[in-house]
């Protein structure tokens, strides 16, 4: 792999890689370190990268593995800051709706943080990054059925908890 291919195919992935690392680690600085490490590994792999069919999925997989290593090393639960990105809402039609939506999103963020890590990962890759089931299988090293089960559980847990929160304030 030459420098040009690295710059045009790998470096633009930095935000996606960062988002996924942040989802797993819940710490912006650590997520940046992981992204840096991924870039170094891609470059070090050199010509062998030409044999990789899907560079993006490969990079995401490295992010996943490095993040898991860090979680194990620090022996801590992953957590995502509740305030992440909640101030970026421009499309809500009215100030009232906007306020309501921000509150709902805060609730979604809280619920997301309570889901098991695998469910969070699958939900993130599908609903945030728009990955196909096959790509999710490649990134997380799971089979298709496992991915669908995790996604089903994550979406429905999120929905049920949201409904319960809105209905009973729980």
């Amino acid at each position: 792999m030459d420098l040009k291919a690295f710059q045009t195919n790998v470096l633009p992935l930095k935000s996606k890689l960062f988002r996924f690392a942040l989802r797993m680690l819940g710490n912006s600085d650590e997520a940046k370190d992981v992204v840096q490490e991924v870039f170094t590994r891609v470059w070090t792999k050199g010509k062998a990268m030409e044999e990789v069919h899907n560079w993006e999925a490969w990079c995401m997989r490295v992010v996943h593995n490095l993040s898991i290593d860090r979680i194990r090393l620090n022996n801590r639960q992953h957590s995502v800051p509740l305030s992440e990105g909640l101030n970026i809402v421009n499309n809500a039609p009215s100030p009232h709706d906007r306020t309501e939506l921000v509150e709902s999103m805060r609730q979604v963020s809280e619920i997301m943080a309570t889901l098991p890590l695998k469910q969070q990962q699958v939900l993130h890759l599908r609903d945030v990054e728009g990955y196909s089931y096959k790509e999710i299988c490649d990134v997380l090293d799971l089979d298709m059925n496992q991915v669908k089960v995790y996604l089903f559980r994550a979406r429905n847990a999120l929905r049920e908890k949201l409904i319960r929160m809105n209905a009973y304030g729980l």
């Binding site: 420098l3 690295f6 710059q7 470096l11 930095k14 935000s15 960062f18 988002r19 942040l22 940046k32 992204v35 840096q36 870039f39 170094t40 470059w43 070090t44 992440e84 990105g85 909640l86 970026i88 809402v89 499309n91 809500a92 039609p93 709706d97 939506l101 709902s104 999103m105 609730q107 979604v108 963020s109 997301m112 993130h124 599908r126 609903d127 945030v128 990054e129 728009g130 196909s132 669908k148 996604l151 089903f152 979406r155 429905n156 999120l158 929905r159 949201l162 409904i163 809105n166």
Partner: protein
Amino acid sequence: MDSKELERLLQKYWACETSLEEEQMLRDYFRTNSPTDATRDAAAMFAYFDVQRNRQLQDSAIEDKAVGVAKKKVRPFNRFINGSMRIAAGIAVLAVAVWFVRNEIRESTPQEMIDTYSDPELAFEETKRALMIISKGFSTAEQQARKLDLFNEAQQKVRNSVTDEKEANTEL
């Protein structure tokens, strides 16, 4: 998208049966339409996913550092040195391995088998040379033996003449 179509897609979405295209349609819908009471939970989720997707890593230092590392590693001289070192290390390992294997074979082979010849002509020449050395040794020994014989004969003659002289004096 009408409400029936929206409801149908949401049913599929909760059952994880939507395609990526259908999920994109749902995203587009919630991005531009106010939620109803029935779709409030889904709207909140899609809005949250949208916000997450738009998060960008603005830190250009990561890219600069990655490119810096890449440029540093791509220098032709470094590549040449790396390549040469690898080849030299390979040759050294091979030489040491050959030396050990040769030693091992020599130690495990009986002494009489070492230094023998597999080529008959070479073996013949070597045998001839060995016989010549032996023959040369024999002829040297023969010369020495002749000298000893000559010395013995001379000694015997001297003894005989002394004895004759003694006998002659006695008769007188």
